[in-house]
Amino acid sequence: MKSLAGILSFIMFLAVPLCVTAEEPPDTSVTLSLHADEEYVSDITETAEEWGPATVSLPAVPLEEPLNGDSGINDELLLLSLLEERMQDHGITADGEGVLLAQADSLREGSAPEDDRYDGGENDNGDIENNRIADPLYYWNLSMYHFNDKFYFWLLKPVAQGYKAIAPEPVRIAVSNFFQNLASPARFVGNLLQMKLKNAGDELVRFVTNSTQGLAGFMDVAKSHYGIATHEEDFGQTLGYYGIGHGFYLVLPVFGPSSLRDTVGLAADRFMYPLSYISQNELSFGAAAGIFGFQAVNRTSFRIGDYETFKESAITPYVSMRDAYVQHRKKQVKE
């Protein structure tokens, strides 16, 4: 187990510089991050050559006419043209269309209410939702996206395939139940904080039942014998429940797509994870990473092919994944 963790981290360190160099932004590029509200356009951030952003502060510009709330596209064009004007005034040039493109979402999120209603003239708004998220760390996120992609194809997938070949499905399901059970306290707290008392009670009963009758969680007897299903509520969802937005999109290495809010939630959930309370003497960092790696391999063994289908289906996989993340989390928060 320990050596597996060692190999894992070694390959990670090898892969990081590889991926970063592959996705370095063009030297002369200027990244714009525009924060717009109803009346002002301000804040232009410049990133040149280096990754560390240097900020060029431009004075806030009053808009000549207020943003027209019901046409997002027009607002965006208005803001873009204003932005270009401001840039010219200050001698900033943007090259590379990807730059403006990358930032268009952050711009939109701050500006106009969503209206993607198609030109059909009916008030059919059932499936039109605002799923936009700010992406100011676009280059970081893009390189992490590529890193995770390689991580999956070069490491996670082959290991999971090998594991799947030797471990029969019932064993893998038992392992999945075990880890699922360990995360139960975090779900209990999540349900409690959202005043979902019945669900919190369910989680408590599940944890107790599965930890004992379910043989330390390997069997989900609470579900199979008592019909008590799990209620997925992590801390990120709890924050969302109380109206806290994503902040911005953040792709984490290995963990995958996340956001500022959900990363905070992820850290908070670790506090409620029993393994976090085993002392360093008994569970070294390497062993803990190994357990995490094993969990990931087990999880992946059920989903080989899903990521491939996702990539195959997407026109721009990065954008597709970001959108899917926001949509999926939105549903989880709503439930």
């Binding site: 209603r117 198609y118 009916e122 059932g126 499936d127 721009t316 954008v319 959108d323 949509q327 999926h328």
Partner: protein
């Protein structure tokens, strides 16, 4: 009399598949999904040599199941009106090809999973959402179909898997592309994607 009866019976038999579609949104989706499952479980269609045949059958069903025009229109949303009629036509065809080739292998990988048809919820007076779940041995995957009433029954215009709407997802991708590319550029991108697979 007898002649009339058999004529009526024959007419009924011919009409029956149509009638099954025209029912409720839930029944419509159920009929289509079950016919896909039948293709997948049909012993006479098993094996690598019959793969092409299975694909064709599934494509035929998807043709009847989906309203690709509606799906395309909703995906492009505001950008729909930027497309000329012939561009729209090309877009619908290419988008369909891209979707089919991306998902057909995934669909064909389904074997013993059970599909549960849960309920339908009206979205508007013309559209409805049908909730289903695919039960694997480990967990269940919620898949919702959004359908619209057309002249020939309910047609699917969006599929929502675990909260992720297909139409919304492609919309965000096409929207970013169309910010500084023309409809023709987008069609070219789709053409490449469709041709490759």
């Amino acid at each position: 009399m007898r002649c009339l009866l058999s004529a009526a019976l024959a007419a009924m038999v011919m009409v029956f598949p149509l009638a099954a579609h025209a029912n409720t949104p839930l029944a419509t989706v159920q009929v289509h999904v079950n016919s896909v499952l039948e293709v997948l479980r049909d012993p006479s269609l098993k094996g690598e040599s019959k793969k092409k045949l299975r694909q064709d059958r599934i494509r035929n069903i998807s043709e009847k199941m989906f309203d690709f025009t509606e799906l395309s229109r909703r995906t492009l949303a505001q950008n729909w009106k930027e497309f000329s009629d012939s561009q729209k036509k090309d877009f619908i065809e290419l988008y369909k090809t891209v979707l089919e080739s991306a998902y057909i292998d995934k669909i064909m990988a389904y074997t013993d999973e059970k599909v549960v048809f849960q309920k339908e919820t009206a979205l508007t007076d013309k559209t409805s959402e049908v909730q289903t779940a695919v039960m694997t041995r480990k967990d269940e995957i919620p898949i919702n179909y959004r359908v619209i009433r057309t002249d020939d029954g309910w047609r699917v215009y969006d599929v929502v898997v675990e909260g992720v709407s297909l139409v919304n997802n492609y919309r965000s991708q096409f929207r970013e592309i169309l910010i500084n590319k023309t409809p023709d550029d987008l069609l070219e991108i789709l053409r490449k994607k469709a041709g490759k697979s």
